[in-house]
Amino acid sequence: MAAAIGVIDYGMGNLHSLGKALERVSASSRLVISYDPEELMNCDRLVLPGVGGVRECMNELRRLELNEMVVEAARNKPTLGICLGMQVMLEWSDENEGVPALGLFPGKVVRFPDPKPDGDGERLKVPHMGWNRVRQTQDHPIWSGVPDDSWFYFVHSYHAQPSNPDHVLGLSQYPNDFAAAVARDNIVAFQFHPEKSQNLGMMLLANFTHWDP
């Protein structure tokens, strides 16, 4: 039977484009979009997407009994977090007056500094929305074929601060460096949206579907 990629559907965010992108890059895999913990546990690899607020995200994960499943699955299955799905992998987020999260990576999630003029005298806007470059700070199979300093699409007001620098896989700048990608063992996560980042985003998703940590 074809390998299965489970996309965790907890009602937060647009799985349309992610599902479509995964189908495009992994024709040989079976795509399972589900909120059933048992069905997801039977998949070979998992994707945790997400947009919106962290409190509601954690509430929904708990309500659907998915929080423990994700932590359990992330012990051995290749697991990919995207955007809010990356942020909930940290221990704590400052969003919504502070919310404890899954704790797969030590560290927390903080808001971008209040908008103030950058070097050109122009104010920085929050959300950080649009295309930004990602500097690859470590070699990793997920970067295979992706040039350093490539552009990816971001949209977020908070960003992860992993406490272990060895977990940082890529940095972006707004206005200071922040973690745009993190990884450890069989987990990798992106703050940006590969499914919205044209060909290079597709390449990252393809690399994930082949990744054998």
Partner: protein, 256 residues
């Protein structure tokens, strides 16, 4: 650092891409799916898809066209026109939109912006502001908000409205100058600058692009974070790639 975004706009009327002047005299500009695919290929940073007669005719947006367009592109897609309820927002996101643009419904009920942002995340809520200059000559500039595809005056000051919408949870503003729309005379940079300098969320400039210089002016003088244009791309005057090369040559950060 973050790049400035170039966003082709597809105005849709009854399933076709159209282009009007000052919101009227509409002409056909092609099939939405083909046009969207072309801009994705040319390196567009996002696409905006506006059902320009939905609000005016009080009918729901064309979900099927949204689905067809979303299936073809791997860049963010914003959809607007006749978005009135959270059910509309959800249906558009499910059809493949990444953001929805709210205009008339925000004026009728500002709380709707807060509700939609709270439920689906502020990053997917774009508030569209159609503004027209209303000051007399020699008076300081003043702009008023219009709704229903530019057909109805509201008496609301556009700058105050922009601030209020951000307080209500708009994640981004799409500001169209009705005086300039379709004229190819350039954006109303004074309007853009007045809004961009007072709000903390990204601003998309719209209405009036006729040359590549206009894009540059919108970003520099108007201090917009993104520039939206329709006819210069639809008519093939410039490709998105040519626009980016031009801006790059002028020292603007763009994704090439």
């Amino acid at each position: 650092m973050l790049a400035k975004r170039i966003i082709p706009c597809l105005d849709i009327d009854r399933g076709r891409v159209v282009k009007g002047v000052r919101f009227q005299d509409v002409q056909d500009a092609g099939d939405p799916v083909e046009v969207a695919r072309k801009y994705d290929y040319q390196g567009a940073d996002e696409l905006v898809f506006l059902d320009i007669t939905a609000s005016h005719e009080d009918r729901p947006i064309l979900f099927q066209t949204v689905e067809q367009v979303a299936r073809e592109i791997y860049i963010p897609l914003t959809v607007g026109g006749g978005v009135r309820t959270c059910a509309d927002v959800r249906a558009l996101l499910s059809a493949g939109a990444d953001k929805v643009s709210i205009n008339t419904a925000a004026v009728e009920n500002p709380g709707f912006v807060t509700e939609a942002g709270g439920r689906y995340g502020v990053q997917c809520i774009v508030v569209a502001i159609d503004a027209k200059r209303v000051n007399k000559k020699k008076e300081p500039p003043r702009w008023e908000v219009f709704t229903h595809g530019g057909r109805r005056a509201t008496g609301i000051d556009a700058i105050e409205w922009a601030q209020k919408m951000v307080e209500h949870g708009a994640g981004e503003l799409l500001v169209t100058s009705m005086d300039r729309d379709g004229t190819k005379a350039g954006y109303d940079n004074e309007l853009l600058r007045a809004i961009s300098d007072t709000v903390a969320v990204p601003l998309i400039a719209s209405g009036g692009v006729g040359t590549l210089d206009h894009l540059y002016e919108g970003l520099e003088e108007g201090r917009a974070d993104a520039v939206l244009a329709a006819s210069i791309f639809h008519q093939g005057t410039y490709t998105v790639g040519a626009a980016k090369e031009f801006l790059d040559g002028r020292g603007v950060r763009v994704r090439i």
